[in-house]
Amino acid sequence: MNSFLALFPLLIIVFAALLVLILEVFIKKENRNYLAYVSLFFLIICGIICGKFWDKDYSYFDGYLFLDNFSIFLSFIIIITTFFVILLSMKYIFLQDVNYGEFYSLLLFALSGMMIMVSSGDFLVIFLGLEVLSISSYALAGLRIKDEKSSEAAIKYFLLGSFASAFFIYGLALLYGASHSTEILSIIDYFKSETSLSLMALIGLGLVIIGFGFKIAVVPFHMWTPDVYEGAPTPITAFFSVGPKAAGFAVLLRIFYPYWKVALNSQAIFWLLCIISVLTMVVGNFVALRQTNVKRILAYSSIAHAGYLLIAILAQDNTSLVFYLTVYLFMNIGAFAAVIALGKKDREYLELEDYAGVGFKYPWIGATFAVFLFSLAGFPPTGGFLAKFYVFVGAVRQGLVPLVIIGVLASLVSVFYYLRIIVYMYMREPSTEIEIYIENPALFLVLFLCLYGVLQLGLFPGNILILVQQAVSSLPLF
């Protein structure tokens, strides 16, 4: 239905971002938490409105913007991510010296960029959304101005991100030249109508995939990930590891769900994605074995997870892809929340050595962290197990057995480095005592909610699966 209402969720987020920017001038530095409350309030409102629009299928601007169930579900995922990240940041920005009022505003801008991306079927709009997301991310990565690593992260992210955008826009130009349209469905339609192999459009699509490959951090394009994840403020790292990935995969799903139906041209792209997926799983997991910094371990783990998600794209298994993204949100944010919990004024504990003995000294943090790590590794009864299980079963059904074998082997390797953190937490004598700032109710709320999410999705995934199926079935095919 064509209605102005479709703009509402986006308008609320942009309004909140601008409001926070203005309020920042009037609010004293010690009271910056109020900005967080304002942002959280608007996020809740936006979430409620998105919920109201479920099944309504609003669209506006001649299809540049549509809120089908799929966009609403993905919007939910990224809104919840931002919600958690804001909760995690409330104490963090005071402790780690990133206390800028613009922090929340930039986060909300990044959120609006992702919402633009997931709720459009037009490459032009998707590109602009991607740029809004990227530009805000560059600034967020460099917010710890005194820390050289943070500046390094910002510069690296900026350079490689611009590079990725250039790839994307070049590919888009080629696709437009071939098909005379920037709309995804018309481009797929062109692929279908073409009787011979259209080289220009294929190269264009390949370049678009490369552009997204940078954003979702798959292997030949992952070089920036560990450095940026390490240097950025930790809540922002949590944000990077979930939000842009979810948005990027949403767009890939929008492209490839109809695309696989076009038999003629799809072979080359299929193999390209296969190779990327295998490389991502293997390199991500093996390099993670040698890391000693927990943030870097989690960075490589998030690269590896992108590989499993690509299998779902290749297997045309949309339900498990979206389900995986949902589980991934809870387990990854949860793991980062535990990492953030281990810090005090101007000091974060990020080396593996620091984690020795944490499991007994801070039993709650240790236990929840262990659950999230088990979930990331894919042990039952956590959500991570079911997510991986669905993806692999879906792939076997499509006959992608070799890919699944590699995936299972790679995730066996991953067990080593996830368990290593747990071994350090529970079975090593601490060499130095660590002191942490414990009065952080917002962070414990996030830990609890993520724990609930991971276990709920692992034990009783039924309700969510129904929602996911409804969301995916709203994807336009032709």
Binding site: V14, L18, L21, K29, Y60, F61, D62, Y64, L65, N99, Y100, E102, S105, L106, F109, A110, S112, G113, I116, L124, V125, L128, G129, E131, V132, I135, S136, Y138, A139, L140, G142, L143, I145, A154
Partner: protein, 165 residues
Amino acid sequence: MGHFLFFLLAIICVGSVLGMIISKNQAYNALLLVLAFASLGGLFGLLDAPFIATVQIIIYAGAIMVLFIFVIMMINLRLGLPPEKKKWTLYFSLGVAVVLIVELILSVKGAFSLFENSSMEKIGGPTDLGRLLFTKYLYPFEITSILIIAALVGAIVLVKKKEKE
């Protein structure tokens, strides 16, 4: 007259780009680049696209060049480093150059047939552009404003002085 202007502008454009590559002084490089952009603008003007010509001069010769000159001023390199003389980069760039020349020849050959049966359509006038921006492309156009404000906020927060404790 048209032909004369075309060749004049084309020669200026190619000459200044060549000069830019050869010259080692950054300030000269920047100024020669301005000249190249300006003559490109003139070429667009000859093609009956006054709006693109103006935009070419305002954006490239104006905004982007000012940026370049600022960077040169701040970094203050007197003379660039002597170019590294590696064999393989030379061969590699020669190979790329040959590929590009072949591509150029092919595309010029292809373009000649287009010239003969092209109806001189007037494109890129400000009216058409404005109408498209505010009707068909309204949504992307508005997103651009979010993009710009996000970039502004990000840039300012990164460079502003540390707040007083």
